[in-house]
Symmetry: C2
Subunit: 178 residues, 2 copies
């Protein structure tokens, strides 16, 4: 999506924040601004990430699968484990891996110790593709804007939201003040 910023206009999020308070929803205003900003930043980030991966014909979801596999000891993981680690639906894992297999980036084999389960294994081509794509994404990660200390602070606060929602957070991550 290529949406031009509205010319000569104020920040829509700041404006909404003002209206929220004016309408007597003051206690919810900081949360409302936080949520709206997260949604907007998510949109901006996904656009940049997709653009960075575009020429490699990889979606962010498929990249994450490759990356996760490469991080394991033998470059393999059961389908179900992929889903729980990446928080995606089992059926989505099936289709993403199918696409990766079609592209020769992973192959599938039934689990040697449990024939119900099938392993996704990253191929040499898959590992090769990780070098340039990781570099492209790291470029995005390094150009976010805020200083590393602020990014760590950002993660700390967001982890508070994850914790409240029941997400599993490491204790250390919740405390660390940069």
């Amino acid at each position: 999506m290529r949406l031009a910023a509205e010319a000569g206009t104020i920040d829509p999020i700041a404006e909404a924040f003002r209206q929220w308070k004016r309408n007597g929803w003051g206690p919810a205003a900081p949360g409302m601004a936080a949520v709206t900003t997260i949604v907007r930043v998510h949109q901006l980030l996904m656009a940049r990430i997709e653009e960075a991966l575009d020429r490699y014909d990889l979606s962010f979801a498929r990249f994450e699968i490759l990356r996760l596999l490469a991080f394991t000891r033998h470059g393999e993981l059961p389908m179900g484990k992929l889903g729980s680690r990446l928080q995606v639906h089992p059926a989505s894992v099936t289709s993403a891996v199918k696409r990766l297999e079609f592209d020769g980036l992973v192959r599938r084999m039934t689990h040697p110790e449990d024939n119900r389960s099938t392993l996704a294994v990253i191929t040499a081509d898959g590992r090769r593709l990780l070098a340039p794509t990781t570099a492209a994404l790291n470029q995005v990660f390094e150009d976010l804007g805020p200083e590393p200390a602020d990014l760590n602070e950002l993660v700390r606060i967001l982890n508070g939201i994850r914790a409240e929602a029941g997400d599993r957070i490491e204790a250390s991550a919740r405390e660390s003040r940069v």
Copy 2:
């Protein structure tokens, strides 16, 4: 989506952060953790928001249109303006407003001063629906977890990302330290 947390496992994001540094991508590690955490929190938030709006048969996108219309002086806005304010594609505005009109929450009229343009106008039913839905969302906003001061800090840092991406930010929002 209702995805159970993986039992007995560490935080996947913290683990990825560790691996990122171990692989020599240290400078990108804070940004990588920030992006991954934003993506995850976005996912959690959208699930909660959709759940809160579910019984009103409203999507978040359609709620935002109603809210934006209610905030204007006459409860009306041209289609194009809706799109630029909410950062959605013109064709998406058309379909969202069509759905809202079908539900009797907005009606459409051609712009009195420019016949090319059509105005979306919120109806009395639309305004009525905003009371309980706003209350339901405010409940979500108030229960995010972090204190208001931290939420403001969160917005400040995220605005740094928006600014870097060329989003229009109010100067005040970029400076405010809570």
